[in-house]
Symmetry: C2
Subunit: 369 residues, 2 copies
Amino acid sequence: MDDSIQAIHTGLQAIVGSDQIFTGTATDRWSRDWTGQFEGMPLAVVRPGTCEEVAAILRLAGQYNVPVVPIAGNTGLNGGAYGAGSILVSIERMNRIREIRSDARVAVVEAGVIVAALDSAVGQYGLTFPLTFGAAGSAMIGGVLSTNAGGANVLRYGNVRDLCLGLEVVLPDGRVLDLMTALKKDNSGFDLRDLIIGAEGQLGIIIAAILKLHPRPVFHATALVALEDLREAPALLNAFQDASGNAVTAYEFMSRSYVAGYEKLVPTARRFFENFYPAVLLVELATVRNEELGELLETVLGDAMERGVVADAVIAQSDMQRQEMWSLREAAAELAFRKHPVIDTDIAVPVDCVAEYLERIPELGPVST
Amino acid sequence: MDDSIQAIHTGLQAIVGSDQIFTGTATDRWSRDWTGQFEGMPLAVVRPGTCEEVAAILRLAGQYNVPVVPIAGNTGLNGGAYGAGSILVSIERMNRIREIRSDARVAVVEAGVIVAALDSAVGQYGLTFPLTFGAAGSAMIGGVLSTNAGGANVLRYGNVRDLCLGLEVVLPDGRVLDLMTALKKDNSGFDLRDLIIGAEGQLGIIIAAILKLHPRPVFHATALVALEDLREAPALLNAFQDASGNAVTAYEFMSRSYVAGYEKLVPTARRFFENFYPAVLLVELATVRNEELGELLETVLGDAMERGVVADAVIAQSDMQRQEMWSLREAAAELAFRKHPVIDTDIAVPVDCVAEYLERIPELGPVST
């Protein structure tokens, strides 16, 4: 066994050079996750710089029958990058934005590009890569694709699956699968792209992607909305969508216990409502052109309050107030992981079944509709 | 061989009853396609009425090693339902709309439901199933899913892949794959749903689906736009999208030769432009609320004409004029198949490469950007 470990290390050195191999305590940065739940020493962390190096690592691992776990930004909460005894393949050095094609609204990127960095880079063209969530400042494209991340704008732009046109993937045997098309419709052969997205690295390591970009919204209108009955939420969402021409970018549910937990966690935080309501929704509309979004929000909320659907509502009057509202929502991971044991995160339920689900599973943490 | 054919027929009769089995010239309706290019007598056409019957047919076919070809509305142009010597499994009797959940904006349907019929059924809820194309009045859900159809609204609503949340599939060995979730995000296991969509029936027969619905647009603004240079089209599309908050539902390109061909085919048709331009675009915006769409269209077109991007433009002033514009576009299949030999249809090219593609492949028929 020691002989083969030595041979693996020698092999890895020949592929990436000794500078890009980490063992023992030098692997800490990659082998512990944010939740503190998943920790285990890998055989080695390697940081390849090219497609060919990734392929060679996978061939070597196959030869010695050592498991391989790809790792990107290490921001996952469910142990997807846990790899005790494995070769952890970090794609963080492959972080080049190869091309931004503003007319076609696509970006060609390597898997190690940080999500927020891509969004920032395309901003100069008036475009956005709209995937965003608490960890967007460190999560990487390869990771969000392998987990099919959703995030706070999922309602408007879909999961990252909906934002991906093409992929470059190194298969477990070292072959390279080139699916790098920028086609809106690609009906050639089986849809291998979507099979690999969300596969958590089990089918191969994503090393590059062609991603869709969207016009960058300039105007935002944000509100916290309190409901006595969560069952009203889907119809209210539809009212916002219809009134705004589908300009809703966020519609995030927070339970009574979540809001209470947040106020305990951050005692200095602004209290938006005097009472604790069964359901608080964070609603955000965003457009490229100012279409009197705030006014529109007010109209829909006014109607809903008259009908008794909405118990109370606060519309952000400044960017600071908007940020305060988002801080409430973005504490979700922190709040969820204070309760132990953590059972699961990111549970999905059909939109019109959320209220019933929550009734039947009491004392849940925050859930995104 | 005759013995086994006899055994297959006996087996099929036991499954679906002799009323639902067709052989010889009785198979004509299914064994000839609209293009006249694909014609071949199947061993039999069978019309199962339930999931269990479909499963039993597939098991029987496997036992006798007979190919099976699923057939839905038989509107395809590329021979996907060609099945000489095969058992053609028509799913047309499985045509029930099981459920319309208007709050969640989903419909649960069987694969034999006709595309336009579904759209019509959800209209009473102010919703639309937005997939549409020339053959929507006879194409069926199972067929459009198996071919990942796009259609005239693909720009706004995506391919049918983007409209599908769940599937029920009978696998080649008769097992039933139940992927009937209504989840906007389903990250459990591998994405088998997308693997089956667009697989042309090679991986199984789709027998039911859960489909997304959208708010039904009430207001439309439609124009024909003439360009001297197709290279201007992507930026012009972006201008329409940004100005309207992504209200563009159609953006269809027709070449000079296409427009000339149409005028020859339908000499009585209205001529929108005095000249033949290199590129004519059919542009349509649609919203749930009237946001002065016509005015918006005029503004963007006015700007573009001033900048010399647009050579000429006609905005539909009535529903009849809108229909005339669509008639021009919808003659595409008819025009394409008048030229022989037909080489291919539905070619996909990245948006910003369409102009170059057309330059390099002279004398193409109509192409959808």
